[in-house]
């Protein structure tokens, strides 16, 4: 057993209102530079819908992820080492910019420099690639809220196979939002596909990162990732992807998408897993067993054997504690309500989802019945085949009973908690019907519905003894290269590069940015502002 820690996320889709705040704050933080216009490290898709880039889930077309060969051995769907090297000069599986969209801006000068005139001046759109006027036909969220459903209905790869049931009414049947970031997979194809070895999984927390110095722009990661969450920046010629906001994580802060989520639907925490069994789990013969196989990889952080193995594997004690308090562990392993997105890609993704019950609730409510009655909801889950099968296509490789089991639990919680809220005696039988107890049901309710900040985010800080390497406090940020995501000319001057809020909140022992200009805005009011006076000689503290 080789225990590794993995920073993971769970999103509770019932609470997503599709406001795109996560996408916007992520973009402001990471991809508001030249060449990154079309990049959405975080995006929110309306499902059913094509997603971003269009139809990315159609792996018969894009060949992302892994597959099993005839002997049951795991191999990259897009081809192995030799094929990758032979197709370096023109990657046959790379999406075009039109599969994303051509980014554009507006001629704002028309407004600013317009003379006094009778007609209101306009700001026509112009392409950010060519600078020429553009007839906008598509963008990242063109099919938001089922816009253009009739024109595009059969373009959702997940509809295939259930079209005849879906017929033309599916847009009236159900709809939900799916926020997506990089999955930070345990078995990432982007890492495997990179000929330069520039993408790696950070051994401390499992975050998948691109070394911008090592990347040579071969673009194989873009094809390898079945979620299409690695993007190619033409301006810099390098691949870029979601970083799980690792400079924030290292300070114990949640990612910017999670921090700003108005629905408070994101959970971040650690899980411990057995890295020795990753390939074995990813090679599970039946796609429908992949969910269980991945769940089995996640170790019980209370198991003394696991704790001992974790400690001997170099995982610090406070990280083991964090894994024990992890909301992710609870949602995946204890309550078993979170499911992975597309386990059939065999990358063992680590951003999981609680499937939405709301389509069923809405349907029951619309039909005039009590939408908080457990029996009505169970019956709806049984009857509403289309949403359930669609959810199964997304989260369990088509295994309907697993999705049903999760939805039963969500429905049971809803029903059980109504009695509690109304001051009636809660019915233990409702909890027992979904193989839970009233107590765990209340715990689950607290985590999902009350969702306190420090219960949603259990993020252990990076360690003091290695703090000189922490990105947030480092004096030499590799992302600050020209055109890089850091952009800050003086890292001391930019708030995001200095110690974050969480660090300031408590007594901070993280070293502050050293030499250079003094920025009193970064001074936490304790002691002497660093750099204002010469360092006393002899002391290192």
């Amino acid at each position: 057993m080789r225990v590794m820690a993995q920073m993971s996320m769970v999103m509770n889709l019932d609470k997503c209102i599709g406001c795109h705040t996560c996408s916007v704050t992520c973009k402001q933080a990471w991809t508001n530079r030249d060449g990154t216009e079309y990049m959405w490290f975080n995006n929110v898709e309306t499902r059913p819908g094509q997603g971003y880039p269009r139809g990315y889930e159609d792996q018969e077309k894009w060949k992302g992820g892994w597959e099993l060969d005839k002997r049951g051995k795991l191999r990259q769907k897009g081809g192995g080492r030799l094929k990758k090297l032979m197709t370096l000069f023109a990657n046959p599986l790379l999406p075009d910019i039109d599969d994303y969209y051509e980014p554009w801006t507006y001629e704002y000068d028309n407004l600013l420099n317009a003379p006094a005139q009778k007609n209101i001046p306009t700001a026509p759109p112009k392409s950010q690639l060519t600078g020429k006027p553009i007839d906008v036909q598509w963008s990242g969220n063109w099919d938001d809220d089922l816009g253009g459903t009739y024109a595009n209905k059969d373009k959702d790869p997940m509809i295939r196979g259930i079209e005849e049931k879906v017929q033309l009414e599916f847009d009236q049947t159900f709809m939900f939002y799916l926020p997506r970031i990089c999955e930070h997979c345990m078995n990432p194809t982007c890492v495997a596909a990179c000929p330069s070895g520039a993408i790696y999984k950070r051994s401390e927390d499992g975050v998948v990162l691109v070394d911008q110095d090592d990347c040579r722009g071969w673009r194989m990661c873009v094809s390898g990732c079945p979620y299409k969450k690695v993007y190619f920046n033409h301006k810099t010629g390098k691949a870029e992807k979601c970083t799980f906001c690792y400079p924030r994580l290292e300070l114990g802060e949640p990612t910017i998408c999670a921090e700003t989520c108005v629905g408070r639907l994101r959970y971040i925490g650690l899980v411990l897993y057995d890295a020795d069994r990753v390939t074995e789990a990813a090679s599970t013969p039946d796609e429908k067993d992949l969910y269980e196989a991945q769940k089995d990889l996640i170790l019980d952080p209370y198991d003394p054997e696991v704790m001992a193995a974790a400690e001997s594997g170099g995982i610090p004690y406070d990280w083991i504690l964090a894994a024990q308090n992890s909301p992710i562990f609870k949602l995946i392993k204890e309550y078993e309500v979170a499911l992975p997105l597309h386990p059939e890609y065999r990358t063992l993704p680590m951003v999981w989802y609680i499937p939405p019950l709301s389509p069923m609730v809405d349907s029951v409510a619309d039909s005039g019945f009590d939408a908080e009655d457990a029996d009505n909801l169970f019956a709806a889950i049984d009857t509403l085949r289309i949403p359930v099968e669609y959810l199964a296509n997304l989260f369990t490789a088509g295994d309907v009973p697993t999705v049903e089991r999760v939805l039963y639990r969500m429905a049971a919680m809803r029903s059980y908690m109504r009695d509690v809220d109304l001051g009636r005696e809660p019915k233990e039988g409702i909890a027992n019907a979904v193989a839970m107890t009233g107590e765990t049901m209340q715990d689950m309710y607290r985590l999902l519905a009350i969702a306190k900040y420090d219960e949603r985010y259990v993020i252990p800080r990076g360690h003091g003894e290695s703090a000189h390497n922490l990105e947030g406090v480092g004096t030499d940020c590799p992302l600050n290269s020209e055109g890089g995501p850091g952009m800050a000319e003086e890292s001391e001057g930019a708030g995001m590069a200095g110690p974050g809020y969480a660090a300031k909140r408590e007594e901070s022992n993280v070293p502050r940015p050293g030499e250079g200009r003094v920025n009193l805005l970064n001074w936490d009011g304790k002691g002497v502002p660093q750099g204002l006076f010469p360092e006393p000689t002899g002391g290192t503290a």
């Binding site: 046959p92 060519t130 600078g131 360690h463 290695s466």
Partner: protein
């Protein structure tokens, strides 16, 4: 050697060594200080229909051309004579292979040039430096083809002149007269190649030295530790029994 004019010595001895120095030092400098800009700078994202043909044609063609040059420049004539290949057999064999390789290369680069000048997206993202490099590269290839075509009959046996000059250059025993007596287009081709080599380390051509052969022999999934300057295949989090006071700070980046 005493017959060499100053110009000959400048062009065929001083300049080549000067370019060699720039080439080597330039690459050392580039890879040590500026890995971030070392990339293929692919524009496939913006256009792939033409690139799908042009880029492999050009790249595979230029690789064949490279090996063709190595053969012609490095293999002494007496070796081929020894195994019974006459000069005429060699000339027509090399000519046939060369014409195929150069046709593929030239075809590829013409498709790519057409793409770069007609596709608005690709055109607007092409920096000036790239345009200069494309011009020099195209001109070198063109002059090479012209030199070969002007020497159709094989009246100039480069293996008795140019190739010996090339080998002498590497053995630090340069002989300018061997180049000075070569036909004009061969001289121009060599000069243009020298200019190309001089700008090479400072252009996107550096990506030729990043062919990822290491990919053939490495585990698929790579782990790197945040704590380490080196990359260990299986590192772990630094244990908390490491002394509180860090030693001399090590830079995370390779400098």
């Amino acid at each position: 050697m005493s017959d060499d004019t100053t110009l000959d010595i400048l062009l065929w001895i001083v300049l080549p060594y000067f370019v060699l120095a720039i080439f080597i030092l330039g690459h050392v400098w580039r890879f040590r200080t500026d890995q971030y800009t070392v990339t293929s700078r692919s524009s496939q994202l913006y256009e792939s229909k033409l690139l799908r043909f042009g880029s492999p044609l050009f790249h595979y063609g230029i690789i064949a051309v490279f090996f063709g040059h190595l053969m012609g420049l490095l293999i002494p004539q007496r070796w081929t004579d020894a195994i019974g290949i006459t000069e005429s057999m060699y000339h027509w064999g090399a000519f046939a292979m060369g014409i195929v390789a150069s046709a593929v290369t030239a075809g590829g680069i013409m498709i790519l040039a057409w793409r770069r000048t007609t596709n608005d997206r690709v055109k607007t993202v092409t920096p000036v430096g790239d345009k200069i490099m494309f011009g020099l590269l195209g001109l070198s290839i063109l002059l090479g083809i012209v030199a070969t075509l002007f020497n159709l009959e094989g009246s100039y046996n480069y293996r008795e002149g140019l190739s010996i000059w090339f080998r002498n250059f590497w053995t630090l025993n340069p002989d300018a007269s061997l180049m000075a007596s070569a036909p004009l287009f061969f001289q121009l081709h060599v000069l243009m190649a020298l200019v190309l080599f001089a700008i090479w380390p400072f252009s996107r051509l550096v990506h030729a030295f990043t062919i990822p052969f290491g990919y053939l022999n490495r585990p698929y999934i790579l782990y790197r530790s945040r704590d380490d300057t080196e990359r260990k295949p299986r590192p772990g989090w630094a244990k908390s029994d490491i002394p509180e006071v860090p030693g001399p700070a090590t830079s995370r980046r390779r400098k």
